[in-house]
């Protein structure tokens, strides 16, 4: 026994020694010799999205707080990302290839032609919503009237309140509709006051209430917000007015709808008169948004995302657009431009890690941590964000 112990001891001491030296090295050089990126390698000062090009790919650009407030105060950034933004005290979006592709398409669009529908698709957490946010910023900077629905499944899955609509068999979501009108107003007040778009016909809401022809769209929206009961009808009126104005070349409209496939889901969690689930087409909000995503107008661009999280169990096998939209949805959108959103490339990944280091979000940097993160997250942006929370 003694002999065995004596044999073991030297090995143990060896191990101890090597361990100690390793820690010592780590302490001496917290960032081991990985390629360090200068701030210009992962950040760009170019806040004008119209000028974003291949040069800015994989770099972060900052959105000013007031712009962020205007664009996303009613939703539009994922909740986790919103928290991160708060922690980092700045709103930075990465210029992703899919975003650049989308902006290029919009830039090259002939707006005399029917509205083109772009469908962003991709696996969970690859950044579809943030690419849409990028596109929205582009729309804002290029004087598009924004028709932005942050997350359609919210209406279908957890509506604030339901009420029977004036139309037989239809269901209104008055609070959600009013909230959307508020969101629309925040995003577009500046532009709409400048454009002074007028309603083309009288809208009679009830015996005493009416919006006469010639009142501004902002008045229409404000009426909808004040009289929540008519909010859904106001949305229908507003969208048809916008479509008409765009077709008459008075304005450009960017429609951005996240979770668009929820409009074609076989069922909702909204209950009808007989306590049975109703289909999305029985919700009054559906039809106006389907109308505005139709091809039969000009000066418009539709950016839609299809997301399998928007579906319920049993309909989440694939993230491909035809599967998520179903037959009806596909027929409604066809021909659309599918834009695939992928996980980070190596360059984007390095840039993102560097950004996190810059924000002191990653503080422990043992040797090979970025390689580890790469394999753990599979370069998926959302997974990377979750993994680095504890680092």
């Amino acid at each position: 026994m003694l002999a065995r112990h004596s044999l073991k001891l030297p090995r143990l001491t060896n191990m101890c020694a090597s361990f100690c030296t390793a820690t010592a090295e780590a302490a001496a050089e917290p960032l081991y010799n990985r390629p360090k990126l200068a701030p210009t390698d992962y950040r760009t000062g170019e806040t004008n999205t119209d000028l974003h090009s291949k040069v800015h790919e994989a770099k972060f650009y900052t959105i000013a707080p007031e712009i962020k407030k205007q664009l996303f105060s009613g939703g539009g950034l994922p909740r986790q990302y919103e928290q991160q933004v708060k922690t980092f005290t700045e709103t930075c979006l990465m210029v992703r290839p899919a975003g650049l592709e989308l902006i290029n398409y919009i830039r090259n669009t002939d707006f005399k032609r029917p509205a083109i529908r772009y469908v962003l698709y991709g696996d969970n957490g690859v950044g579809k919503t943030l690419i849409m946010a990028h596109a929205l910023h582009y729309g804002l900077q290029n004087n598009f009237v924004l028709v932005h629905v942050p997350w359609v499944p919210n209406w279908m899955k957890r509506p604030k309140e339901t009420a029977n609509a004036a139309q037989e068999g239809f269901i209104d979501l008055p609070f959600d509709a009013a909230a959307w009108l508020v969101h629309f107003k925040t995003q577009n007040t500046n532009l709409l006051t400048k454009l002074q778009l007028k309603t083309s016909k009288d809208y009679v809401w009830s015996k005493r209430e009416a919006t006469p022809a010639g009142s501004t769209l902002l008045e229409l929206v404000e009426h909808g917000i004040a009289r929540i009961k008519f909010a859904s009808e106001t949305i229908a009126a507003l969208l048809s007015e916008l479509k008409q104005h765009a077709s008459e070349d008075k304005c450009k409209v960017m429609v951005a709808i996240d979770g668009f496939n929820a409009f074609f889901h076989p069922e909702t969690r909204v209950f009808g008169d007989h306590k049975q689930r109703i289909t999305p087409d029985r919700i009054t909000l559906t039809q106006p948004f389907l109308d505005i995503t139709n091809y039969n107008w000009t000066n418009g661009v539709c950016i839609l995302t299809v997301d399998k999280i928007g579906m319920t169990e049993g309909f989440m096998e694939s993230y491909m657009p035809r599967y998520l939209l179903g037959k009806e949805g596909f027929e409604h959108l066809d021909p659309f431009v599918p834009v695939r959103v992928d996980n980070y490339s190596d360059k984007e990944f390095a840039s993102c890690v560097q950004y996190y280091l810059d924000r002191n979000w990653i503080q422990k940097t043992p040797e090979g941590f970025d390689e580890q993160l790469k394999y753990l997250s599979n370069k998926n942006p959302y997974t990377l964000m979750q993994l680095t929370r504890s680092l």
Partner: protein, 332 residues
């Protein structure tokens, strides 16, 4: 008379004293008189139970096992006619097979059991009746029944061309009192669908009529007829089925016009909303009386491919390319 009375008197006198006693002593004394006679030679009789048997018993026959003959193969000549020894299929017989066969599992290092009383050798099928000389012999014997191969049917392609229908049936040969086998009536008819001439509607209808008798992987239609008792009847029935289905498929019934889009087997761009939309988009802004633009065939094909084959990155990528062409947008 006087003597008679005297006799009676003496009897009565006796009876007055011992009449009652005599009445029952008589019964007691009689058996005593009998045994007295038996015991005269003063020996017990022996009850011999076996006496009868012993006399009748014969000697049990002893079966003598005949001494086993030496195995037959020891007497076999080396140039004998093997086909005569083993003319047909048969279980392995060690004595008649002049081969030093061994077969079976043993402990490691030991030789496998020899061919005698070896169940392993008896279990497995043998082909000792199908030796090359035996086959040669049988072929020679059959030759006189053969006719020359028809001219013009030298290759598979040729005979498939001239005889597109393949009919299969099975003859059974066995040792039973009856030579009939119920399975012999079954007739299988095979035909390649490409050998039949169809139009689009007829083909669709024919495939619906035959159902799972058609194998889409091989393109072969198989009709099995076994409902009639005789092979001839089944053959006729199979041919009738083929003929009837073929001709029926060319008939268009009035209710077939009601087939809607949901009933279609595959997606066709021509009859769908996608075509209307695409045409409306490319004809946007063109006056109604002017000539309409047609949607490119490539776009139609990619849409059909996307839906019929199911979506994957490749199909979706092609669709995207075609859409970009159709809408004339580009990614610089």
């Amino acid at each position: 008379m006087a003597s008679l009375t005297r006799l009676l008197e003496r009897n009565l006198r006796n009876s007055s004293t011992a009449a009652g006693r005599r009445l029952y002593s008589q019964t007691q004394e009689e058996p005593a008189a009998g045994t007295k006679h038996e015991f005269d030679d003063e020996e017990f009789r022996v009850l011999n139970l076996r006496a009868a048997k012993q006399t009748d018993q014969q000697k049990r026959r002893v079966f003598k096992k005949e001494a086993a003959l030496p195995p037959r193969h020891l007497k076999m000549a080396t140039d004998q006619d093997w086909t005569a020894v083993w003319p047909g299929p048969r279980t392995f017989q060690p004595s008649s097979v002049p081969l030093p066969l061994r077969q079976g599992y043993t402990e490691k290092g030991a030789a496998p059991p020899s061919k005698f009383v070896n169940a392993e050798l008896m279990k497995i099928p043998n082909f000792l009746h199908l030796t090359p000389p035996a086959i040669r012999q049988q072929c020679e014997a059959l030759k006189k029944f053969c006719t020359p191969w028809p001219k013009g049917l030298e290759s598979v392609e040729k005979w498939e061309k001239h005889f597109p229908i393949e009919v299969k049936s099975t003859d059974y040969c066995h040792a039973l009192p009856t030579i009939r086998n119920p399975d012999a009536r079954r007739v299988t008819l095979n035909i390649k669908l490409s050998d039949l001439k169809f139009d689009a509607h007829a083909k669709d209808k024919f495939l619906r009529l035959v159902g799972d008798r058609y194998n889409p992987n091989t393109g072969i239609l198989t009709i099995v007829a076994d409902r009639c008792p005789l092979r001839k009847q089944n053959y006729d029935y199979a041919m009738y089925l083929l003929t009837a289905c073929y001709h029926e498929s060319f008939v268009t019934e009035p209710w077939e016009q009601n087939k809607s889009e949901a009933d279609m087997e595959y997606y066709s761009f021509e009859r769908n909303k996608s075509k209307q939309t695409a045409e409306a988009i490319i004809n946007w802004g063109i006056p109604t009386d002017a000539a309409k633009l047609e949607v490119s065939q490539d776009f139609a094909q990619t849409v059909e491919l996307l839906i019929n084959e199911g979506e994957n990155e490749y199909n979706l990528g092609r669709y995207k390319e075609e859409v970009l062409k159709l809408l004339s947008v580009r990614n610089e």
